[in-house]
Subunit: 275 residues, 2 copies
């Protein structure tokens, strides 16, 4: 094949499949010329489930010229062997490193299935849920007491504040609030009063006007709120505030929620760990 074809890919895991899909997407993203038809097979934690997965892969193989690719995070050698019998190109993305670490740490792995996404520590869970509730309560200026906030996202309506806050809260337990700049704020010559007490934790979001108009139009078709001129005007004024107040800011147009969140945390030095 010439690298411009299609390939079927299976993300296979003895647990949620999140690690398999995450690393799989990262590897596959290196090959922009190839289209991948991806399928997730999660909770393959026993021989019968491994055999069912192998059969599904074999069936696809029989219908295609090219052999399927399996991104596998199962560590148990017995289950891996059953998957390998499918004839697919199996890429074991955890097993080799577990071996390396066994040598380095001078201890054997605990033998558990991948528990990275299955463990629940009550205190951590509490922190995570509290952060999520915090983000929900401090969304779009509903509750404007920001004393507890790790970060306050500032920007005009529909710039991407809410999903970014929810992402940081759910994934990192970051207490992320957001403040929508109102018409009044935009006309003002100083930072909105409510934001003045937490200057070091403010982060501005902006977006291309065309994109903003498109997002607002989808939300409120035909509204004045979605007009390109209005979007342009609001964004220019918001940007003026960011520059005048020396707030860090980021254009969200071509940036994923993950990347926005990661950049904000890196900038503000928030060293929380991923759930």
């Amino acid at each position: 094949m010439n690298g411009n074809g299609r390939r079927t890919v299976f993300f296979i895991s003895d647990s949620t499949g999140i690690t398999a899909e995450t690393i799989g997407n990262s590897i596959l993203a290196q090959f922009e010329g190839v289209t991948f038809d991806a399928h997730r097979i999660a909770f393959v934690d026993a021989p019968d489930r491994a055999r069912a997965a192998a059969l599904r892969i074999k069936t696809i193989y029989a219908q295609n010229d090219e052999r399927p690719i399996v991104i596998n995070t199962i560590v148990d050698p017995q289950l891996c062997e059953i998957i390998a019998e499918s004839g697919a190109l199996v890429i074991d993305v955890l097993a080799p490193f577990v071996g390396t670490l066994e040598l380095e740490l001078g201890t054997r792995r605990s033998g558990a299935i991948n528990r990275a996404h299955g463990m629940v520590d009550f205190n951590q869970y509490e922190a995570r849920i509290n952060a999520t509730n915090y983000a929900l309560a401090h969304d779009d200026g509903i509750d404007i007491d920001y004393t507890q906030a790790d970060v306050v996202l500032v920007g005009v309506s529909r710039v991407g504040k809410t999903p970014t806050c929810l992402y940081m809260a759910l994934h990192y337990g970051v207490r992320a609030a957001n403040y929508p700049l109102t018409d009044e704020d935009l006309e003002h010559d100083e930072l909105p009063k409510r934001l003045q007490g937490c200057r070091a934790r403010l982060y501005g979001l902006t977006i291309d006007p065309l994109r903003l108009a498109q997002v607002r139009e989808a939300r409120r078709p035909g509204s004045a709120y979605a007009k390109l001129e209005r979007c342009q005007r609001e964004l220019v004024l918001a940007d003026k505030i960011f520059r005048r107040e020396h707030l860090p800011s980021l254009n969200t147009t071509h940036t994923s929620i993950e990347e926005i969140g990661s950049k904000i945390m890196a900038y503000l030095g928030i060293e929380k760990h991923m759930f």
Copy 2:
């Protein structure tokens, strides 16, 4: 070392660090006896940043007996070499598989940095934001039109419905609604009217009574709502509904949000892909 010590770990990435931290956590979770002090160094996409990262690792190494472990998702060999000069045990978790796939696909990688979490497809972004807005609007019975829902989570208050819905929406673009069982619903002999039209998409959540009391107590200290007897009673009645109506259900007590979401999607056959 005997496997019961501490080790410093760095998750290093040319992009967000999400893949490095995800796979790193999965590998490290195999070694339950070791305590890992983990640090994320993201956006290492140029030689000066790689040198800064290497210096930080070297500094930690100088303060510790054991060499640090680096979980590295950078693919660029030049940058990887700089990181390796730190003297840490560097585990490259993407590069080897990219080589394997280059052979299999008969094409070279595109040479881009890890773009898996940086790409934005407008339509996909739209689907993701719409799903998140859907989850927010259909949270705790605020909007009860479930015709568009991919799944409706059912359970008593504080059982874990909201974070699970937000997780599925943000990560998989799943339109997840949730319905809190009220006292009236719990006393009733039939499924709440509003749920009768979407029986095949219902999924019940339950939790251990002690845990529920603890969660409610943190939220409303000293309230009747948080009393253990009340929690027990509500959960028994909810469970009765799940059994009588043959609804699938899951106990969330020892289950992470990721695992709950993955199990629900696997059960209902929702084959959406991760963002």
